[in-house]
Structure formats: C-alpha cells, structure tokens
C-alpha cells in the first residue's frame, strides 16, 4: 500500500501499487485476504474505485464498527504494508465505455465505489456519454469523493451529479434531503425513451427500492444492473 486516503470519517481508500496486474474493468471487485500470525485468515470483497487507466489500484473501504476486516484495513494498515488480494472479479456489473446509451448511476453510501470507477473511466477516456449520478449519503461529511465529483461535474462534458442527504443537511443545502423516492427519480433519471443503462449500488433496502421504482416507471428490468452492499460482517 502506498497511501491511505481518508475520504470521510468512516471511509478510506487504500491505494495499492500492484507488482502484477493485468488491468480491470470499471465496476469489478477484488477479494482481500488477511492472515493473522497463527494462520487464521479472513476474506472480504471490495469494489475497485480507481479507473483502469489509473497508475495505481484503489479500493474504498467503509469501517464497520462490528466488522472484522474493515477496521483493520482502514485503521491498522500503513503505507508500506503488503495487502494480499485477488482479482479483478466479476463480468456483469461493469461499464466498458464505448456504449452509446446514456448512463444512470444511483449510489447509496459506500456503494459509490464501483460507480466512481465508471465515472473516472469515463473521464479518463474522454467519453461524452451523457451520465447522471444520483448519490444518497447520510450527511455532507459522509459524501465520498465530494471534491472530485464537484470537479468532474463542472467539466461540462455531460456528467451531472445530484446529491441527497438523508439525515443531516448543512444550512442552505440546495440538494435533496430525503431518501430516494419516485418523485426524485422522476426528476433525475433519463426518460425511458432514451433507453439508459442503469447501475444501482448500495445497501440492500436502497437497491431494492430504487430498482423496483425504476421498473414501476417502465424501465426495462434487463437494463438495470444492481449490486447490493450489505453492512454484513465487514
């Protein structure tokens, strides 16, 4: 690991220099394995947040208080430590660029990570694919990649970002202030006539709700790809 980037109070990105890496697709994940001195091992999956074009690999990890692996990764591991991982894994929840269809990305909490890989990939290849991100966080300080998203959204290349803060909003907050609902989706999403491809990633209740609402709005279920992040185990 070359550096640890503290993204929010509970979330950090591990930036890793890979001795052997044959590339990945935006949206894929890796399995991280940690081994104690007595040989005990634990494994967890984490999404890759960096673009395929980035020189180093980044995984973004949310610290779960009752977790076994995440408190170690974001609390104990220091620059220079080795991290054992396997991947990239997964061939479905991926975006390769070059797809003409507009992109709709919906994230909850640390579910932004694989979608950020897509947004970074889109910027790195100079894609103009019309892209909308709807990102739900608890509070402004919980928004991961805030500055980078602001910068990318101001580039005027077809990316728009809408935030909703579900628990706490700063004074004068101009974004949404509630859980994602059908009225919010109706304002943010592409018309179904534009046949967007949709990626939804976050905690199970958010993913279930958003995917169901989109189907009810008439979107083709086959165009909606989901990845559920349970706050399980960790």
């Amino acid at each position: 690991m070359t550096s640890l980037v503290q993204e929010t109070p509970r979330v950090a990105s591990l930036v890793l220099k890979m001795p052997e890496w044959h590339g990945h697709l935006a949206g894929q994940h890796v399995d991280v394995r940690v081994t104690a001195e007595d040989g005990y091992q634990a494994e967890r999956s984490y999404s890759i947040a960096s673009a395929p074009e980035d020189p180093q690999l980044a995984i973004t990890v949310e610290r779960l208080d009752d977790g076994e692996v995440s408190p170690y990764l974001v609390g104990e591991v220091r620059a220079g430590d080795k991290v054992e991982l396997r991947g990239p894994i997964g061939g479905y929840f991926v975006w390769k660029g070059g797809d003409e269809r507009p992109l709709l990305l919906v994230a909850g909490g640390s579910g932004i990570a694989p979608l950020m890989a897509m947004i970074r990939h889109r910027a790195a290849i100079g894609s103009k694919t019309p892209t909308r991100l709807l990102y739900s966080s608890r509070s402004l300080e919980d928004v991961i990649y805030k500055a980078e998203l602001d910068r990318l959204a101001s580039a005027d290349d077809g990316l728009t970002v809408a935030h909703t803060l579900t628990r706490k909003q700063p004074d004068g907050w101009a974004g949404y202030s509630r859980r994602i609902d059908s009225a919010m989706l109706a304002e943010v999403v592409w018309p179904k006539s534009q046949a967007p491809i949709v990626y939804v990633c976050g905690p199970t209740p958010l993913v279930e709700s958003v995917a169901t609402l989109l189907v009810d709005m008439g979107f083709d279920p086959a165009s909606i790809k989901t990845e559920r992040f349970g706050p399980t185990g960790g």
Binding site: A36, Y40, R44, E76, V83, E208, P221, R228, T232
Partner: protein
Amino acid sequence: MGFISRGFRGRRRDTVSSSRLPPGQYIVTDYPVLSAGPTPRIPLTDWKFVIEGEIDTPKSWTWEEFRKLPTEQVTKDIHCVTKWSKFDTGWTGVSVDTLLEGVETAAEFTVQSSYGGYTTNLPLEDLTGGKAWIVYEFDGEPLHPEHGGPARMLVPHLYFWKSAKWIRAIKLVNQDEPGFWEVNGYNNYGDPWREQRYWGD
C-alpha cells in the same frame, strides 16, 4: 501466496463452528440479499414450473398443483460466494427427486432458469438423491420476493448462486451450458469446501 498481515488478529475463532464453515467464509445471523437486477414479482396465478429439454414429455405444474406435491422440511447451512455463511436455515419445499419421479432421461446436465432471466447450470446428479429442493417457505414464512419467492431452488451443498431464485424451469441437457455467473467469471461447479469461487479455482 500468503503472508502475515501485520497487526491483524481476527476475531471469530469458534472451533465448534469452524468444522462447519468452509474456507474463506464467515458466519452471519441476518440474511443478506444478492441479485444482479431488480426483484421480479410473480403473481401466483401466473406462476408455473416446468421440467423441459431432454425429456419425452415436458412436465409442468401450476402453483396449485405444485403445492399439492409431498413436501419436506429441511434445515441446512448455506454458503454464499461473497463469503457469508448462514447456519441452520429452515426451509419447506418439494424435493427435486419428487419432481423427477418417472422421468427417463439420458441428460447429464441441467440449467435452472428464473423469472427475470437468471440461469445457472449443474450436473443432474447434484440435483438428485436428496440434495436439492424447490422451496417456498423460509423459517416457516412464505419466501419473500427478495429471497426468491414465491419459490426458489435450494442446493445447499454448493455456493448459493447455484440455487436459482424465482425458479421457472429446469432444463435437462446433454451438454453442459454455463449460466449467468458462470460466463461472468464464476466457477462452473462452485463447491464451497474446495473454495471453487471463480474461474480457475
């Protein structure tokens, strides 16, 4: 491969459960949900289950007919490829042996297909001999759509992606046909005790 992770001690070392826990797995007490797309909602009046493919006459059941079949209650440990395992899950359903009664086939492989388009493949012998069920109750309650209701496959000796949610059909085939995850990087067989998670395992 493998080195000590400086400072990692780990927490869960219950030796009683470790003999029940496949390598790389950890125990959960809740029931995580994993699927690749929206949850299909299937009205029971539209529900139908079929056995098709290499079979003289395809067999099919409506929900009403299916629920008249002899049922079994089983308690099983389940193992998801995303690393969680859940012990002692209780299910009610119909054994695949019951569904295949009287079926003569030369097929050695099967493909499960779901409402919503999901598929997964298995050798026929992994569905017979008391190893697989179509279940419609979880812990005594109707199976929730998120978890595959109205009815899903239960093949507990393999990773849980081999147990299709929202099951619609079992196709008997002569040649193995890799399914949804199997063409997207996941192992063709999926034995948790041999940690067959991905291609090349």
